[in-house]
């Protein structure tokens, strides 16, 4: 299995997974997955339905505990057993079904569960939160929302996605995982969100982008990791592959020299069919 060295050669990936195994009862979902994500890069995670993308992300985010394998974050082995532990490391996940409350405004959503309080009575520090939220959105050059005190119910799909991403960035996170951020968006809003994704990476964050849309993946990613039936078919540089090669990695697990060797691929396929 080929894992690319990255453009900065020596730079250590912020997240490195080795041989991750995860089963749910008899169903073996992740079969020794290797994966890495680097700061300042967009790493696309692609794969067909059921390839294990969601499971892998939930393992990274601490929703599921891994059965076996190495989880190295920022050069140190980490034991991520809960979403809280992942947040503490600086890992934030923006889920597909946007975890936003419609009835709250942008500031309230961004600080949900982590509200700033002030004084002995521990009252909410609205001014501080509003200021920080405004600064975060400004740092991401978000100019599409009129006021940070707008209710989320009044925002468009793209704006909601923007708020969800800004919420993840607010907490000095190092790795942001975006689960299908453009799935429900129109053309203009997709461009807007991809723009933001690129900007996050340019600011030095490690971004993992899960997407079914090959155009999105090819447009913004630096590195592409293709999962095939619970195994990492290949993680390659964006510049070294074509659209066709990625599609082959996703659908067959291999493409020419890339990917799983044919025997492994068919063995995996056999297992997959049994499961």
């Amino acid at each position: 299995m080929s894992v690319d060295a990255g453009p900065r050669g020596a730079s250590e990936p912020i997240l490195r997974l080795r041989g991750i195994q995860k089963s749910f009862g008899p169903v073996h979902v992740l079969k020794g997955v290797d994966f890495e994500a680097r700061s300042g890069e967009v790493t696309a995670l692609v794969g067909d339905n059921g390839a294990g993308k969601s499971t892998l992300v939930k393992c990274i985010g601490g929703t599921y505990a891994i059965d076996e394998g190495e989880y190295i974050f920022d050069g140190r082995p980490a034991h991520v057993q809960s979403p809280r532990a992942a947040s503490a490391l600086g890992i934030e996940i923006v889920y597909q079904d946007l975890a936003l409350c419609d009835n709250l405004d942008i500031v309230e959503n961004m600080f949900l569960g982590r509200e700033e309080v002030v004084g002995a009575a521990r009252t909410l520090d609205e001014a501080k939160m509003e200021l920080m939220a405004g600064q975060t959105l400004a740092s991401l050059s978000v100019r599409t929302v009129k006021s940070v005190r707008q209710k989320v119910s009044s925002l468009s799909g793209g704006q909601r996605q923007t708020v969800a991403i800004a919420k993840a960035v607010l907490w000095n996170s190092k790795l942001v995982i975006l689960d299908e951020p453009t799935a429900a968006l129109g053309v203009a809003q997709t461009a807007q969100v991809l723009d933001l994704v690129r900007r996050l990476a340019d600011q030095g964050l490690a971004v993992v982008l899960i997407s079914h849309n090959m155009n999105d993946v090819l447009q913004v990613s630096d590195s592409i990791a293709a999962l095939y039936l619970g195994q990492m078919a290949a993680q390659v540089r964006r510049s070294e592959v074509t659209h066709t090669q990625i599609v082959e990695l996703i659908t067959a697990g291999r493409s020419g020299d890339l990917g799983l060797t044919s025997s492994v691929a068919s063995a995996v396929e056999g297992n997959g069919a049994q499961a």
């Binding site: 936003l100 009252t123 609205e126 001014a127 405004g134 050059s141 100019r143 006021s147 704006q159 807007q192």
Partner: protein, 434 residues
């Protein structure tokens, strides 16, 4: 709205400050406010408009409607409904319902009455016991809802029925228990001398207005110091002045002697001053508004009501929030029951039954609390409760004869339907602006 092609290079220069902090002037503030109303954030506005219309209507149609005597009676009769509605706001914020609040209030009041009359305990102990029973009832309902997973409609329907039965058994054969404890009864004033002194009423108003002004200007100056956009001073002053003016009219009104017909028994007596229930309701209003609006807990209540999955992912203990709102609701129901006990100077075997609960739910919804969850404030309970009471008093004198109570219920029902309609329509207006 959508701007694409934000070329990355020029974005870093800091020249584009998306949220330019600015001082709004009164006109801009008004425009902003109207926009928020149209966006579905109507809040208490329909309730307030309805209240003004109804008061004007009844004042024209009925000569004694705005007499000091009538107004005082509305306050006293409305108090139990308003206090119960304050609790229901918390439950409704989560999109839940508590059908048992009425009979729970009756049960708690009966417990207090039994302790006072049959066991001769001090009124403090009786009140404490009633409050504790409310907390236990709320915790049980909340636990069944959050941990066992029974819909709150079913749990509280079951509780509604069985509490009625317990009340009947506890009150026993005679069908009623008379309570003569002076302190408890004075709350809603059965005797004409049990009101706040006139000076105390004005002092209370001064504290409320000053407190409001201090909170308002501290918030404003803090936001200005942080460079955030603020409400203009003129608007803040208008709000404070409006509160002071309305309060002054009320206190003045309550200072008028309410004994109109002088018999030889009452010729040298006066009945004047604010009922003691008013400061109690103000304290509840202040404390609960603070809890919902200024604390993390309150924020979490709104979050769970808006999207419980999002709240769970944000690390909020959704189950605890869910249990807590039922505890608050049943505790306030117990208080409401004690207030009702005070105004009746006793309890009967149907205590808290009938449409006690429905009027309280109606009050919360008319005031602007959404039945869909996620939207509502404690003040809604007060506004809606006053509307319900105004209708009840206005109609009772307007339509005389045996059909009077029937019409009163019909009108209250229609108002509730209109309020719920506002709620549903404004919710859609908010969602369609995407």
């Amino acid at each position: 709205m959508s701007t694409i092609g934000n070329e990355t290079p020029q974005l870093r220069q800091g020249e584009e400050q998306p949220f330019q902090p600015r001082e709004m002037n009164a006109v801009e503030y008004g425009r902003d406010y109207v926009q928020r109303l149209r966006g579905g954030e109507m809040g208490a506005v329909p309730g307030l408009i309805g209240l003004v219309v109804l008061v004007i209507l009844f004042a024209i149609l009925q000569s004694g409607f705005l007499s000091a005597y009538n107004v005082e009676n509305m306050v006293i009769d409305g108090a139990p409904t308003i206090i119960m509605a304050m609790g229901l706001v918390f439950v409704l914020l989560l999109g839940e319902i508590d059908l048992s609040a009425g009979t729970a209030s009756g049960l708690c009041a009966v417990l207090a009455a039994v302790l006072l009359v049959r066991h001769q305990v001090n009124w403090v102990v009786a009140v404490f016991a009633a409050g504790l029973l409310g907390v236990v009832i709320g915790a049980s309902i909340g636990w069944l809802r959050a941990k066992v997973g029974i819909p709150s409609f079913v749990i509280t329907l079951a509780a509604f029925l069985s509490f009625q039965g317990v009340t009947v058994i506890m009150v026993g054969g005679s069908g009623s228990i008379l309570v003569t404890d002076h302190t408890l009864v004075a709350l809603e004033s059965a005797s004409i001398s049990d009101y706040m002194p006139i000076w105390a009423g004005w002092l209370m108003l001064a504290i409320v207005v000053l407190g409001y002004a201090v909170v308002k200007f501290r918030t404003l100056s803090k936001r200005r110091a942080a460079g955030l956009s603020t409400e203009p001073n003129s608007i803040a002053l208008i709000k404070i002045a409006a509160l002071a003016a309305l309060g002054a009219v009320f206190i003045y009104y309550m200072g008028i002697n309410r004994i109109i017909t002088h018999t030889f028994l009452t010729s040298n007596q006066t009945s004047e001053g604010v009922p003691w229930i008013v400061p109690l309701m103000l304290i509840l209003l202040f404390a609960l508004t603070f809890l919902l609006g200024r604390t993390r807990y309150g924020r979490h209540v709104y979050a769970v009501g808006g999207n419980d999955e999002a709240a769970r992912r944000a690390g909020i203990r959704v189950d605890m929030v869910r249990i807590s709102v039922f505890v608050i609701c049943s505790f306030l129901a117990a208080l409401s029951g004690l207030v009702q006990l005070s105004s009746q100077a006793g309890v009967n075997s149907a205590q808290g039954g009938g449409n006690t609960l429905l009027l309280a739910v109606g009050a919360a919804v008319i005031g602007g609390t959404s039945l869909f969850g996620g939207r509502g404030r404690v003040i809604d309970a007060v506004i809606g409760g006053v509307v319900v009471e105004v209708i009840s008093y206005g109609m009772s004198d307007l339509i005389s004869g045996s059909n009077g109570p029937g019409w009163q219920q019909i009108i209250t029902g229609i108002v509730l339907l209109v309020a719920a309609g506002f709620d549903a329509v404004s919710r859609r207006a908010g969602l369609s602006r995407q």
